[in-house]
């Protein structure tokens, strides 16, 4: 029975994909969209069913579908594991997925390739489900690369624009760098455990194995973390995510904010029994994770301060928030990271969809310098956007407050430097989110009259998901109230508990909360002062100077990567193609040429003269006789 349900869970989106690939075009104007939404909704229902069941019974479901790859020492099967963690993830993947599908029906209304769009979206959901439900790392890897593929397809959805295609390609390749890390991690784990099954690995570790104490396991963890960096856009592999905003906005919401980019967090949480091992090497790895997370959070936030593209701001915000989650992971607070993933999914999806609504109204305009005053026309969008912004800024009682506060609190207890960095990032977050809000919705409209004429609130299909997500963003925090966390209890069976535990609501905790809230308010205040009081509008690209310009150009990281990696490889390729290949080829031809040259010279010896021939003959005779009989004669 479980097998059938699980197949339904997995294959419903896949069926939607197939249907849309083959018949999507003929399925009426919105047919493809509704079919796709329905397919994901089916998965959502199945998830809901299991979710409710596991809340009652606490029993995980594990099903082996078929044997897949065989390694000398073990077999890897295509197995499904539905436990607390995967179901939680499925809940928001399919739930938010359904909403975004619904949203897309309206958003992609005019695109001639709608059916493809929905096909890809469905395929994405399929792979995302695969990623989440796999019972071993290799199945996760199918999903892992599969979502990368869909991300590629969707970023480059408007394929006529080669810049978008470049962005898509970049995303895929940077993800692949991470994937190599993932693969290496799998290899190392395979050698250590002779299995890649989570359950088996966990049992081996809990049974106390020597493998757990070698440096190799830390190396494996590090390799896997590189994989996570690629997928979840952490330093140094984060630059693809801002570029990925080339895709249609629902894609950014679903893939590049709510679900796919959190895969890295999912993977590490999945392997918490491994990452949480208590030995020196692993501590180092965890420190690396935490530092990378914190630094990413800060760097991305600083860049986000000055971006003018509405989606770019959100993208850097996403990178920054993901950094915070990794900070939590590195500190061993897995449930905290998961908590933030969930709340972030709500408010960030809402923000993206809201920005989509704005872009929709502005007919594709994304530059905030050309917006302004939109709340007049788009009240629903404005309100939901405001709620989400408050949430992400960590203002109580919105969800972001709780989750972010947990992270800061954890950081404070382990390492105050990290805490300081994270807090600074949070303040900046509050600033740029409200900068975004003010520039977009307040003051006068700065666009063309043409645009102004067309401004309108988006249709219900767009506003409905916004409202739902805004509600979730408001109340989502209550699933893990400090001191009384439903989430922690729920996740207890899958997260090996150690040291950290829940933070007691002591004075320190309250103080930290206060600092966080005040910080958020300061950020908002600065934004208010700058953009409402002084009515500033960010300068045109050419007028930027100094630090502002550096930030606006993202510290020139793309350019640095370009000249450090891309250009040298291409130069090398050109060198190989034009020089080395020719030389190698010439070497082979060279043998031919040399022998031919000898042949040409040799022909001169054969000059036709009998005298010479006879002379050579005699010389030969003399030579042979002399060689053979010299000793005897002499």
């Amino acid at each position: 029975m479980d097998t059938a349900y699980i197949l339904l869970l997995l294959l419903a989106p896949f069926a939607g994909f197939l249907f849309n690939v083959f018949f999507g075009k003929k399925a009426g104007h919105n047919g493809a969209g509704y079919i796709a939404t329905f397919a994901v909704f089916v998965s959502f229902l199945v998830t809901l069913f299991y979710f409710i069941r596991i809340n009652q019974t606490g029993q995980a479901v594990s099903v082996k579908l078929f044997d897949w790859i065989q390694i000398s020492t073990f077999k890897l099967s295509f197995g499904v594991l539905l436990d607390q963690l995967s179901l939680l993830w499925l809940m928001f993947v399919t739930g938010i997925g359904s909403l975004i599908h619904l949203y897309s029906i309206s958003y992609m209304h005019d695109d001639e390739n709608r059916h493809k769009f929905f096909a890809y979206l469905n395929l994405f959901v399929f792979f995302m489900i695969t990623l989440v439900v796999g019972s071993n790392l290799l199945v996760m890897f199918i999903g892992w690369e599969g979502v990368g593929l869909c991300s590629y397809l969707l970023i480059g959805f408007w394929y006529k624009n080669q810049d978008y295609n470049d962005a898509a390609k970049k995303a895929f390749i940077m993800n692949r760098i991470g994937d190599l890390g993932f693969l290496i991690g799998m290899f190392l784990l395979g050698h250590l455990f002779t299995t890649l099954d989570y359950a088996d690995m966990k049992i081996t570790i809990e049974g106390g194995t020597n493998a757990a104490n070698t440096g190799w396991i830390a190396a494996a963890a590090l390799a896997l973390f590189i994989g996570a960096c690629g997928k979840s856009a952490q330093i140094p592999l984060y630059t693809w995510l801002p570029d990925a905003m080339a895709g249609p906005t629902p894609v950014s919401a679903l893939i590049h904010a709510a679900t796919m980019v959190t895969s890295g967090i999912f993977m590490i949480t999945r392997l918490n029994f491994l990452f949480g091992l208590d030995n020196v090497d692993m501590h180092t790895v965890n420190l690396v994770i935490a530092v990378v997370g914190a630094v990413t959070a800060l760097v991305a936030a600083t860049i986000g301060l000055v971006q003018n593209d509405i989606k770019k701001v959100l993208a850097y915000s996403t990178v920054s928030q993901l950094g915070l989650m990794f900070l939590a992971l590195g500190l061993g607070a897995y449930e905290v990271a998961v908590f933030h993933v969930i709340t972030h999914a709500f408010f960030k999806a809402c923000l993206f969809l809201g920005s989509g609504s704005v872009i929709h109204a502005m007919h594709g305009e994304q530059d905030m310098r050309n917006m302004g005053g939109l709340k007049k026309w788009m009240s629903v969008t404005y309100i939901t956007f405001l709620i989400s912004s408050l949430a992400i800024s960590g203002i109580p009682p919105f969800s972001g407050f709780f989750s972010k506060d947990e992270i800061l609190m954890t950081a404070f207890h382990s390492n105050t430097v990290l805490w300081a960095i994270a807090s600074l990032a949070s303040i900046m977050t509050a600033f740029y989110m409200f900068r975004l809000l003010y520039l977009t919705f307040f003051k006068e409209f700065r666009g063309t009259d043409e645009q102004k004429h067309h401004l309108h609130e988006s249709p219900a299909l767009i506003t409905f998901p916004l409202i739902v997500l805004a509600i979730l963003a408001t109340v989502g925090g209550f699933i893990s109230l400090p001191g009384n966390s439903w989430l922690n209890n729920y996740l207890a069976p899958v997260i090996a508990h150690k040291g950290h535990g829940e933070h007691h609501l002591d004075n320190t905790a309250y103080m930290l909360m206060a600092i966080a809230v005040v910080g958020g308010l300061i950020g908002i205040g600065i934004a208010y002062a700058k953009y409402i009081k002084k009515s500033e509008v960010p300068p045109a690209d050419a007028e930027m100077t100094g630090f502002h310009k550096l930030l606006y150009n993202k510290y020139y990281v793309d350019e640095i990567y370009e000249s450090l990696f891309v250009k040298p490889i291409n130069a090398l390729s050109t060198f190989f193609r034009d020089t080395l290949e020719t030389a190698l080829s010439g070497l082979v031809y060279g043998f031919g040429k040399v022998t031919n040259a000898i042949s040409d010279k040799g022909r001169l010896v054969q000059n036709g003269s009998i005298g010479r021939y006879l002379f050579a003959f005699t010389l030969g005779v003399v030579a042979i006789i002399t060689y053979l009989f010299y000793n005897k004669i002499a």
């Binding site: 078929f66 593929l149 390749i173 193609r577």
Partner: protein, 478 residues
Amino acid sequence: MDVSIILILLLAGTLVTLFSGKAAGKVALAFGLLALGASVALLTKFNAHQNIGCLGVWMENPQIYFALNGDGLSLAMVLLTTSLLPIIMYSTFGSEVKNPSSFYALILFMGFAMVGTFLAADGFLYYIFWELALIPIYFIALNWGNGDAKERQKAVVKFFIYTFAGSLFMLASFAYLYTKAGNFLIGNLSALSLSADEQFWIFLGFFAAYAIKIPLIPFHTWQAAVYQKAPTAGTMLLSGIMLKMGLYSVLRWQLPIAPYAAKTFMTIFIVFGIAGTIYGSIVALRQKDLKKLLAYSSLAHVGLIAAGAYTLTVDGLRGAVLQMISHGFVIVGLFFAAEVIFRRYQTREISEMGGIRVQAPKFTSMFMILVLASVALPSTFNFVGEFTVLYGLSSINIWFPILGGLTIILGAYYMLKMFQNVMLGEANPKPFADITFQEGLTMGVIIAVLFFFGLYPKPIVDMITPSIEQILSYTHKL
């Protein structure tokens, strides 16, 4: 019924096709399908644990047997050949072929020689088939190829002489082995106890033949030019099947006969393979000619396969075989895609393409899938192979999969770049008709195979594993 039936069918097909005039293509396809049918029938026999090998005395003095392997490895390679042959022949139906009877006869003959190479269990017989395979491809490339005739000649002759040169060293090795063992049966040759020096020289002799055929860098210089100049069917034969002759031979002949040498110099040869992978990927990046780019991608892939084969681990070898088969399919598909474009645009210059997707969505999808399979997306067959090979490499030294794994990054880079430049962008002013049924079927079949075995490689794995363990047993006895 034993495996010789396939050889007979293909040879008969060659002769019949030669005299069948205009209908040659269909006749040849029929024989190709017959051979496929026969191999499938043999597969069922094999799965029922019946002996499908063949051992007959060819001549007494020197002692040479007409001996054919009936094990899983050979059968897998034969299945690869017999399933690709009809696909390759069918793929040519969309375009005009001059002098079809000779053309298709040569293709079938090539199939005959390649199947023989995969089957032969007697070194002498093997060598004959090995060399025989050179002749048809030489003529196919020469007479039906494209581009400037002079350049083509140069490339093809170089290819012939180069590969022939390599195989002569193998012949010398065989001659030496013969003086030791008194016959050529693979079993006896592998059972010889050769000194380290002898093994080294024999290994090197074989290596000369295989390194050029596979090809490993820096012996690959014939490859790109020939791929480019040969007609697409020839390129498919070369890249889809013929390259695998070299790789297969490494497993079948080189490792069991000179295991000590293989073990001693393992690192060097793995490095050779991996270097080829990286080098091929980098060179592919900036190719201007679509077929050449695919040629270098082939170079990259076979480098990895070779590296896997030289690991002397079950995983490495198994991965190598899986990768051989999957690469065979995917590269044939990719070259066919290049041909589809060529049929419409009469060019292979990437710079003259672009913007095809707008006009040909079906073709785009199929091409995309092939590209993805080629970069080893999980759930495609290629991933299974690549994963297993890299796993095998990781058991030797963790740096090998890291370096070899660069292929998944660079591979994605050059393939996607190519795809972007060829297919995407603003609509091309030149019209591009979407694929015909024939073209769709050709690619569809390949794609189906890639996905099926990508998700369910077990049948092949089960088939080849005993052979691989057998091969490795020779290396373990040291």
